[in-house]
Symmetry: C2
Subunit: 441 residues, 2 copies
């Protein structure tokens, strides 16, 4: 069941952001870590071991860890081209149509994004920024309790729009040792030609360092479990990464006009992702709060993942009754949720009061599930309060800027003595000399 809290209670509890540097490790996982990596291993040291061995031994280590961790002996690391090419025919036609439709909208959305490619001649010569695609990108697609073809679309398509010439996917094998057909079909729909049957830190290591059979990438994107996330952090700097993703979160800011049945359904959808998911309702309406609480209890019964939902509702989720909508917006922005939904008769008036949010779902017709699949923006969004400084995955994640400096002679001559003067203050006389000799000093 979901609780109703006061603002004060919520601020001490579900709205409090912990800066978790060291994750809690459940006993079963600790036992497994001890078995595979030695007594007293932590997720971080286990990941370091996986990465080090992959860097040293390449494919052998990748196969070793896949056998140990995923209990799968891989004949080959990349999915056969034939198997990939025919995958769409192995999924239901209406599902293929839905994935194609979603892919088209995601592509259209990202194609509108402007990039900071510009030059000016107003500063003497030509100055500006050149934007070029990253050469080779790895998109990680998580496995887990069910295959997630939507995550493949949401990672691959913005990279394609950015012009990345070389995009590969890594995703863990299922229990049968294969990548599920629905993932392969999503890959085929985007046109991606390389899918590695690799998950966890071993996937990240293979992509970051390269192996005998896997060329290294320049950047790795996509969400994943704790081991994927720790591995991304450890290889950051060797390759680029998009961000570090934690459990998913939705905050609904609602006034008395909101439909409690819909609010409850949206919160249940959020909570079913996993036991660490967060669904929070912020509302000044005690009536809505109570109605949503009752609706959640009623709808929960019929959902297949009710066990997962019950845990996430009890642990991280809740309903908070605020003084007014302004306070609800202030709390939502401070929480800086991955998804923030505004359920109000006039939702636009609240948007500017929530500067920090990964995605803003404005009005009850723009519910979060549409954003998960088909609205257009990538569903890979900043979690854990990182929306204070980070953005949803977007086209700019797949390009990089080169600053362009092409001064005309007069401007160069004008700037040289100024550069020399600052260089002297920094005690860099080689700098001062290089500048001075351009103007005959």
């Amino acid at each position: 069941m979901i609780e109703i809290y006061t603002v004060q209670e919520a601020q001490q509890g579900i709205l409090r952001r912990e800066m978790a540097l060291e994750p809690e490790v459940p006993p079963a996982l600790q036992a497994r870590l001890d078995e595979l990596f030695g007594a007293g291993s932590t997720p971080d040291t286990a990941v370091a071991t996986i990465l080090r061995t992959i860097r040293q031994q390449g494919d052998t280590a990748v196969r070793h860890w896949t056998a140990k961790i995923d209990r799968v002996e891989l004949a080959q690391l990349a999915v056969d081209k034939e198997e990939l090419g025919t995958a769409v025919s192995r999924i239901p036609a209406d599902l293929a149509d839905a994935l194609r439709f979603a892919a088209d909208r995601i592509r259209q959305f990202h194609s509108y994004q402007p990039l900071p490619n510009w030059t000016t001649t107003a500063m003497g010569g030509r100055l500006g920024q050149r934007v070029t695609p990253i050469q080779r990108v790895g998109v990680y697609v998580p496995g887990g309790t069910a295959p997630l073809p939507s995550s493949l679309l949401m990672g691959v398509i913005p990279a394609q729009v950015a012009g990345v010439p070389d995009i590969v996917v890594a995703t863990p094998p299922g229990r049968d040792g294969r990548v599920p057909d629905v993932i392969l079909a999503a890959a085929a729909i985007t046109g991606v030609e390389t899918v590695y049957t690799l998950g966890g830190a071993q996937a990240i290591g293979a992509l970051a360092f390269g192996t005998q059979s896997i060329p290294r990438v320049d950047k790795i994107v996509g969400p994943g479990n704790l081991f994927v996330t720790l591995a991304k952090k450890q290889v950051y700097g060797v390759v680029g990464i998009d961000g570090l993703y934690g459990p998913t979160e939705t905050v609904v800011v609602a006034d008395e006009t909101a439909n409690p049945t819909w609010v409850a359904a949206d919160m249940l959808a959020q909570a079913e992702h996993d036991v660490l998911a967060t669904a929070i309702l912020l509302t000044p309406s005690r009536e809505l709060a109570t109605a949503v609480q009752i609706e959640i209890a009623r709808q929960l019964e019929n959902l297949s993942r009710s066990d997962i939902i019950a845990i996430s509702l009890a642990n991280q989720s809740g309903i908070v009754v605020t003084a007014n909508m302004d306070e609800a917006c202030t709390l939502a922005s401070a929480f800086a949720a991955e998804h923030t939904c505004i359920a109000s008769a006039n939702p636009q008036q609240w948007v500017d009061k929530i500067p920090h949010a990964g995605g803003l779902f404005i009005g009850e017709r723009s519910f979060e599930v549409l954003g998960d699949y088909v609205a257009g923006p990538s569903h890979t969004m900043p979690t854990g309060g990182t929306a204070r400084f980070a953005s949803p995955l977007n086209v700019s994640d797949f390009v990089k800027i080169s600053s362009i400096i092409e001064l005309d002679d007069a401007t160069s001559a004008q700037l040289s003595p100024i550069a020399a003067r600052i260089a002297q203050a920094e005690l860099l006389d080689g700098h001062a000399r290089a500048a001075g000799m351009r103007v005959g000093d």
Copy 2:
């Protein structure tokens, strides 16, 4: 002295990118680590200790580590407002003018940068991306052998152009326990009101976690030494960071028309930064190669930092004779240097052949030293080959995107069954239900 290499030698040597995960620790540093943090400490474990204690104890730990590492007892962590406000009057007037001139150009340059703020109504309702400034940013300004006011300008001004309302600076104390006046003057010129007398990992920890007297920031930017860089990596995720910076690098791509005196001066300027700096010339002209080698030997004698220069020239730098300019460009792009300079009578023809570079300095009048101080772009650029995926510090580093999803009723109704279909495939029936109930299922 600087060596002349063949392409093959260079590819096995100076052009080879090592993926250094664990830095080499000189004996003197190891002794100091053992003394301060216990025998067998590594830079990484030392940084972890500093960060953990700052997180637990706040100001007390910040003062403790500053006393231990910088050998300075800080009366207060922030520079006095009066001392900051009057700093410009304590530096030479022509230096203040040079810093103001540089600041104006840096501000003008960044003000041209477009940001990906957009909406479209072409997809049914309103979809797009809202760009908002990050609330609070910390700019790290390194200390070291000389104060670097230019680094302050290059970090603070792009943040100001982005609209960051709350910008603070951290920079290590000098031997007298004070922040040098030239740094304070640069801060005052930009209008920054808060400068913390903090360096190293202790500065990064204080900014990332906050203390009793230092509010935590949302993002930390700027280059620093090994300990700053390791600390930035460790706090990444708690706060945003701009990147991980290693030693500075310049590659000059030159043809037979280049002026060997100028090329040599530019390489010497690069090499004087520190003993780990890299200066590489790629040229098909053996005549130029020899002339530059002679010029470097000649000019080196008169430079105050010749000891530093000699080491960086011998260890990481060199002159490489290529088959032609195309090969020089290919090698430069593969190296993906922080700075790539094109010295050629017609430099424009080579620009597109170098897709990977932090800054492109096009033509001999656009020499790298101007970029260090006054050309306009931030001199904080990606090092170590990270220009393959990373960008110079720019306005987009100081904003974040929120995806905007505000669908009209008809589009919402059209998309709901498609979302429900994919949700079913992902075994998320709470998602399917939330979508289905919008269209009466």
